[in-house]
Symmetry: C2
Subunit: 127 residues, 2 copies
Amino acid sequence: MSKQMLPVFPAGEGCCAPMVREPLAGDDAAELARMFKALSDPVRLRLLSLIASHEGGEACVCDLTGPFDVSQPTISHHLKVLREAGLVSSERRGTWVYYRVIPAALNRLSGLLQAPVRASVPAGAGG
Amino acid sequence: MSKQMLPVFPAGEGCCAPMVREPLAGDDAAELARMFKALSDPVRLRLLSLIASHEGGEACVCDLTGPFDVSQPTISHHLKVLREAGLVSSERRGTWVYYRVIPAALNRLSGLLQAPVRASVPAGAGG
C-alpha cells in the first residue's frame, strides 16, 4: 500500500487494521462492540458530534444541554456512557465539566470500518 | 484540505462528512444509531469481519457457522440484523445464501468517525 493512500488521521495514533483484512478476534470484538453500543443512541451520537465539532475540540457540559429535548440528568447519563466506552474524556475546571473526544478511539473504529478496497479492482482484471 | 490527505476508501462512494466538522442532524443521527446498534454485538461484529475478509469479499452462510459457539438460527438472526441495518447484502444461489458487505455503508460510518485533524496542528502554531 503506497504512502499517499494513508487516511487523513495521524497514522499510528490508535489506528487498527480494517476488519476486511482479517477476521476479528473474540476479545477485540467484545471491546469494540461495547464502543459501538455507546454509539447506538441518537442523542449520544449527536452529543459526540457536538463535542468533536465544538470550537477548540472541547465542549463544556453547559454547551451540551440546549440542543436537546432531554433533561440535564439524561445528558449527564449519556456523557457517562460515552466516557466509560473510552470515546470522550472529561475534566472539571471551576464550575463546569469539559468534554473532548479521544482521537485514538475514533480512529480505531474508523480504521476498522474501512470498506474493502477490492471494490475498486477493475472488472475483468482476473481470469 | 489537500487531495493527498483523502482517506483510502474511494471518494464519493457512500462517504460522508466527519462528525467533527459539523454537529449531526437528528434524522442522520437516528439512522446512524441504528447502524451502530447492529455493530454493538461481538458475534455480529465478527460475522461482518468474516464476510468482509472472506476470499472474494463474499461468504456463504455455510462458512459462517463453524467459528461460533452459537446455533445456526442465532447466526441467521444476527445476519438478518446486519442486513436490515444496511451493512450487508444477501443473495441465494442454489442451496446457500451468500453475504457481502455494502462498502458504501462501511465507508459512511468510517468517514463519520474520522477523528479531529486539529490534533496534528503543530504545538505553538497559535499565539
